[in-house]
Amino acid sequence: MKSTFRQSMKWLHTWVGLVVVWILFFMFITGTAGYFYKEITRWMEPERPLISPEVSKKQMLHLSQAYLTEHASEAERWRIQLPNSRDGNLRVRWTQAAKEGKRRGKRTHKILNPTTGQEVAELRATGGGFSLYRMHYRLHYMPRLVAYWIVGFCTMLMLIAVITGVIFHKKIFSDFFTFRAKKGLIGWLDIHNVLSVVALPFHFMITYSGLIFFLTTYMVLGFNLSLTDSQQDEFHKQVFPDTLAVEQAEIAQTLAPLTDMYLQTRKYWLEDTLDNVTIKYPNDVNASVNFERLETDITYNHSDEIFFNSNGKLMTVPAREFTPSGRIEDGFISLHEGQFANSVVRWLYLLVGLIGAAMVASGGILWTTKRKPKQDKKPNGADFGYRLVEQLNIGSFVGLPIAIGVYFCANRLLPVGLENRADWEINCLFISWALLLVYPAFRPAISAWLEQLKLAAVIFTFIPVLNFLTTDKHLAITLPIGDWNYAGFDLAMIAIGMSFSFAAYKVKQRIVSQVGNKSITSAVSKASTAKLAQNKGAM
């Protein structure tokens, strides 16, 4: 393309980055929110009770078993999710046997009050944090496969951008700490470099693991050419084996108390980190009970699971035998999802996710900053392409966060009885985003930046206030009780609001200093154009 290899890679990095920058930003932001999707969902369902830490796990297991025996005796699968740091509620789920011609049976999901053992009043219909998380790989308003391919294309270009970036950035190590806080091009270049280099292992990991998430979707041609349909089923079994399947014996038997089994697991694990319990065929002789603790390994760890039979006797179940490559893929996917992360590591994931989003955004801004001096000099105003990029930058990098803020507000403001309420929350998100994408077209760039940043600051600081006005689970209640799960969300919103205010303040400062300079420069430029006209006349 260009004279040297490095120059070609730089060219490729610029254009590959520009093509996907806004979708990548969308994916980074929704994906980062996805690391906290359970916490977000809990905030979006304020009908749920506050945590009550004094209830023991034994007591909760006892209550859940009683509840399930009463309400779900026909189900073929039970699951009890104990409260943990992410989702402070006791939940039970059950699955009915699949009806004729259906792939799977009806699934029900309830939240129990851990002191009474009764289900919590009807929750409002909401997409919760999961809808945000789902958009990260599934986008919205389009068929599944189309979305996967768009996401895959963007991820592939991201991989190329990361590799080319490493290739043409000459001094990765000597510039490791270099961040010259200067205005304009050098400042943005340094920001982009620092954000990319600091979290480079994460960027590589997240892109590559994102691609292998849909390995057989993207590499479908090679997969189909290598293996026939029946071989493909065998492939999944070999590479990602499942635990041994139990068969229903159709002989009724009441399940032994879960509390006794729980006491046995305490002896086995020597720690109280039980997370959930799954029971297959609860009212059958062949029932199998699976106690799982919080993950202690990135890949599968056999000792995290303990199995019991219907009499409450310990069962030995052989470990799942992954192939080496299967284990590698499993490890990458688990690194991408961060399910194993405890709360501190989860915050680190949030940090690096935001670094990724900021890297993408600074790349987009860098593109316009570099071209700005030349474009400003054009007699008929800037090119269409340049203005479009600038508009999309403003509309995405500030507009998308605002739209997410609107989504949270919609959760509190839409009437609870509204039909398709969960869908309307999402519609609110996309309508507001669309408006904010169009808006910068009608304003000078710098004013559009300032106005949208101000709007973002207002919306995010308004969210805790709105929560205070519409629910009884606001900061004045959650903080004294110490329910950090609820309080954390409101506090995070205030922090985001403050960051946007700071950004708005910085932009405002710049406008003030520019206006000061402009009165001088405009006088100079007027004089120079007059001179130019004179010269032309003379010629």
Binding site: M1, F5, S8, M219, G222, L225, S226, Q231, F235, Q238
Partner: protein, 103 residues
């Protein structure tokens, strides 16, 4: 007619870039596919059929990325196309030879 032939000037730099983009996307994907087939056969005897295919698929993404980068680094679009097609054919021949050897 002449208007169109003026418009569609195939040696204009824009068309050459477009040609490279097509080469990177489609010929690159073809290379990722043939490399999957190749590794699937190459590792067949050492790690077994399913794992060989799996390894081939895991490796195909870096190969795709490198192919795309290579397309934009060579001197001309023509060279990029010929190079990728050559590589594809060579990999296919090797795969065919391996199939013969393995069966």
């Amino acid at each position: 007619m002449s208007y169109f032939s003026d418009k569609i000037n195939f040696i204009s730099p824009r068309w050459l870039v477009f040609s490279r983009v097509v080469a990177a996307i489609f010929a690159g994907y073809a290379l990722a596919t043939t490399s999957t087939l190749f590794f699937g056969q190459l590792l067949l005897t050492s790690v077994g059929k399913y794992e060989a295919v799996h390894i081939g698929m895991l490796l195909s993404f870096p190969i795709y990325a490198c192919a795309a980068m290579w397309v934009f680094s060579v001197a001309s679009a023509q060279k990029a196309w010929i190079g990728l097609i050559k590589l594809n054919v060579i990999l296919m021949i090797f795969t065919w030879l391996l199939v013969q050897a393995n069966s």
